[in-house]
């Protein structure tokens, strides 16, 4: 019996070790930086090397290469991951051997490149592009808070609202769906519940939903004029009181909505806020059923968050005139339309979309255009400088939401506790403030 008992104990122990071993997490090894692609020697008629962290999927990259063939100058498109791309450009500055001539990436990366002294000033290029009518709000972002142009807006996406047309009769009287206020949205949601007995407003509050962006780019800027500095302000208390009110008329299933296109299509909800790419399927499937419109405005303006990609010229590029010509080509309305068809990134320039763009995408493009050019627009940017801590930054907002709205905790106490978490993140990363918070010298601070 003794031996048998030992065996049983041993096998049970091994079972535990095995099961636990399977579950234990391990730190992910950092991806090895990709080595720079082969360097082409400087010969006459060299193509402009256009490196980009966007349009990386093969099909998107091929579509762009095809669109670049009609350019007056030869070019070579090289998509690469953010990290290696930035490293390569900075390294080329250090060695003085400039290969990448034009860089295309997201707004947040340009401040890094500018600080490294890798960006040429291109106010002259911006002047040449006046006839393109690039959206002024976006063009301003390309100055990186200075008076000089550092990058030209290239393509954009954003988060906005979509509604089933069945919801429109319940709009509060005098409300224009294209210029809603947050108060009107609340009344609208209340009206729909009164009329249908169901909560017809939906928000993407599942773990994979983008609700943190709603707080960072929409609710906070619209109510407080800031994102980080105003996190625990009196205005923020009002914003959360509003959020609690709004939640009373929001479908409680929202905490399991990741992409709003699904509940919109099933009509579980009629009105929703989400990223364009996560609404696309709904409006593409039933374009006649939906309207797409800007997010509401609050006391401080119509806060919205563009996801903006730009193109810039690298300092010291041998063929600057060719690089300029490439940017001129990329901002042509027909090239912008090609990019839209291939990727779901929308044009930054005015101009009619070609006829082969689907009706749903047209609806979205219209919504983006209205939101970007609204008179009370208050542009907020995606977090800058937080690096890997971006996830915990989002967590500060979702935890605040969970505690105040879902668990009904006291607002000021929660904001105070979460502000401490936020402060620790900025202490750790040293990230300065970004728009709409005023610029800071050191790490951004919660006031």
């Amino acid at each position: 019996m003794e031996v048998r008992r030992q065996w049983i104990a041993l096998s049970a122990l091994l079972a535990v070790v095995f099961a636990v071993g399977c579950a234990s997490t391990q730190p992910g090894a950092p991806q090895p930086a990709q080595l720079a692609k082969s360097v082409q020697p400087n010969k006459p008629k060299d193509p402009v090397v256009f490196a980009s962290s966007q349009l990386r999927p093969v099909q998107e990259a091929e579509a762009l290469r095809a669109a670049l063939k009609s350019a007056p100058i030869p070019s070579e498109f090289i998509p690469d991951e953010n990290g290696p791309l930035i490293d390569r450009i900075v390294a080329e500055q250090k060695t003085g051997k400039i290969v990448v001539g034009v860089v295309g990436t997201l707004h947040g990366d340009f401040s890094t490149l500018q600080k490294a002294g890798a960006l040429d000033t291109i106010s002259d290029v911006a002047a040449k592009l006046q006839d393109r009518q690039i959206n002024a709000n976006l063009l301003e972002l390309g100055k990186l808070g200075t008076s000089t142009q550092y990058y030209i807006p290239w393509m954009q996406a954003t988060y906005l609202m979509a509604a089933n047309k069945k919801a429109l009769p319940y709009l509060p009287s005098g409300a224009d769906v294209n210029a809603l206020t947050y108060d009107q949205l609340l009344t609208w949601a209340a009206n729909m519940e009164k009329a249908t007995g169901q909560k017809k407003l939906g928000l993407p509050a599942a773990p994979n939903g983008l609700l943190p962006r709603f707080f960072q780019g929409y609710l906070y800027p619209s109510f407080t004029g800031g994102v980080v500095t105003t996190f625990a302000s009196l205005d923020a208390v009002k914003a959360w009181e509003y959020m609690k009110d709004l939640w009373r008329y929001t479908n409680p299933q929202s905490t399991s909505y990741g992409f709003m296109q699904e509940p919109l299509l099933s009509e579980e909800v009629w009105v929703a806020w989400d990223h364009v790419a996560r609404l696309k399927n709904a409006v593409d499937t039933k374009p006649k059923d939906f309207v797409v419109f800007p997010a509401p405005a609050g006391p401080k303006g119509r806060g919205f968050m563009p996801v903006l990609a730009g193109v810039a010229i690298i300092k010291g590029v041998p063929n600057r005139a060719d690089a300029t010509a490439l940017i001129q080509h990329l901002t042509k309305p027909e090239i912008q339309a090609e990019v839209l068809k291939a990727s779901g990134f929308f044009p930054v320039v005015a101009g009619n979309l070609p006829s082969d763009v689907s009706e749903g995408v047209r609806l979205l493009a219209g919504g983006i255009e209205k939101q970007t050019s609204s008179r009370d627009a208050l542009v907020s940017l995606l977090p800058v400088g937080l690096g890997a801590k971006g996830g915990e930054f989002n967590k500060v907002y979702t935890d605040t939401f969970t505690r105040i709205v879902l668990r009904n905790e006291e607002i000021t106490a929660v904001l105070k506790a979460q502000a401490a978490n936020m402060a620790a993140l900025f202490q750790l990363t040293g990230a300065p403030c970004w728009r709409p918070d005023p610029a800071s010298d050191g790490p951004c601070q919660v006031k």
Partner: protein, 285 residues
């Protein structure tokens, strides 16, 4: 203790490869994940990550729901599996057919099981459809909303019971097969009732299998993740899910490590408890 004969030494030598295997592939990663949890970037010891875990909004709910799942699900599964195993054991005809059917959940991943139960419990799912057609309710019930934690828990518990009873049953069926029939025949000769046979002979002799099944199930229940993830998102936080979110979504490997350390410690504690107390009469020396 007995003295080691040369034969016993050979036995240990033969065990060496598997010990090495376990050491390299299980013990070492375990030690590493412990180190991740209790050191900082510079390598110094710290409790900051463990405290960060303990103070997180979802820590107490996660600990509570995980423990509750174990205390509700594991006993129900054990009773169900024992009943099924005894039924199978008593059956002469068609035994294999039932065994195959009851073992089907074994071959289904917990993620797939989660999706299947989601289609039952979601607002426009099968359950609400049936209830409405029967006229039991007028409007669909939100089984999986955050505001009804008990129906959420119920859905997860049902899913978990469906999914993992099979493994317990299979272990018990195997255990029943090695029980010597002569003991049962002898009991019958002395006029023992079926209940007496069950209590006095079958369960005590089944104890080793039962214990293995309990340890496996408890450890697996501590790791429950995919099912709750699909059914509830984060509305019903569980420990393994929190470890995943801290690792993947908040990219803080150290707090994730703290969670996996906690899961490891709880697993060891439960296993030790089961091994210590769930012991058959005949095994007590």
């Amino acid at each position: 203790m007995t003295t080691h004969t040369p034969q016993a030494r050979w036995a240990y030598l033969l065990l060496l490869p598997s010990i090495l295997f376990l050491g390299v592939f299980f013990l070492w990663p375990m030690v590493q994940s412990v180190l991740i949890a209790i050191t900082d970037e510079s390598g110094g010891l710290t409790l900051a990550h463990v405290l960060k875990m303990a103070r997180d909004v979802n820590f107490v709910p996660a600990l509570m729901y995980t423990s509750l799942l174990i205390t509700v699900v594991v006993p129900i599964q054990t009773v169900l599996a024992l009943t099924k195993a005894l039924l199978l054991h008593a059956q002469r005809k068609g035994r294999d057919v039932f065994l195959w059917i009851w073992a089907i959940p074994l071959g289904i991943s917990d993620l797939a099981a989660g999706v299947a139960f989601l289609s039952i419990f979601t607002q426009r799912g099968y359950l609400n459809t049936i209830l409405m057609q029967l006229g039991v309710v007028d409007a669909p019930i939100t089984w999986l909303g955050y505001q009804n934690p008990w129906t959420l828990f119920f859905a997860v518990a049902v899913g978990e019971i469906w999914r993992a009873t099979a493994i317990v049953m299979v272990i018990l069926v195997a255990g029943l097969q090695v029980i010597n029939r002569e003991w049962l025949d002898a009991a019958e000769v002395f006029g023992a009732s079926p209940v007496q046979k069950l209590r006095r002979i079958i369960i005590p002799l089944l104890m080793p299998s039962l214990r293995t099944a309990l340890v496996l199930r408890t450890v697996a229940a501590l790791q429950v993740f995919a099912l709750t993830q699909v059914l509830t998102g984060r509305n019903l936080p569980v420990l393994a899910g929190e470890a995943y979110y801290w690792y993947g979504m908040f990219t803080n490997v150290r707090v994730a490590g703290s969670y996996s350390l906690l899961i490891t410690l709880l697993s060891l504690a439960f296993a030790a408890f089961i091994l210590r107390f769930a012991r058959g009469e005949h095994e007590k020396v």
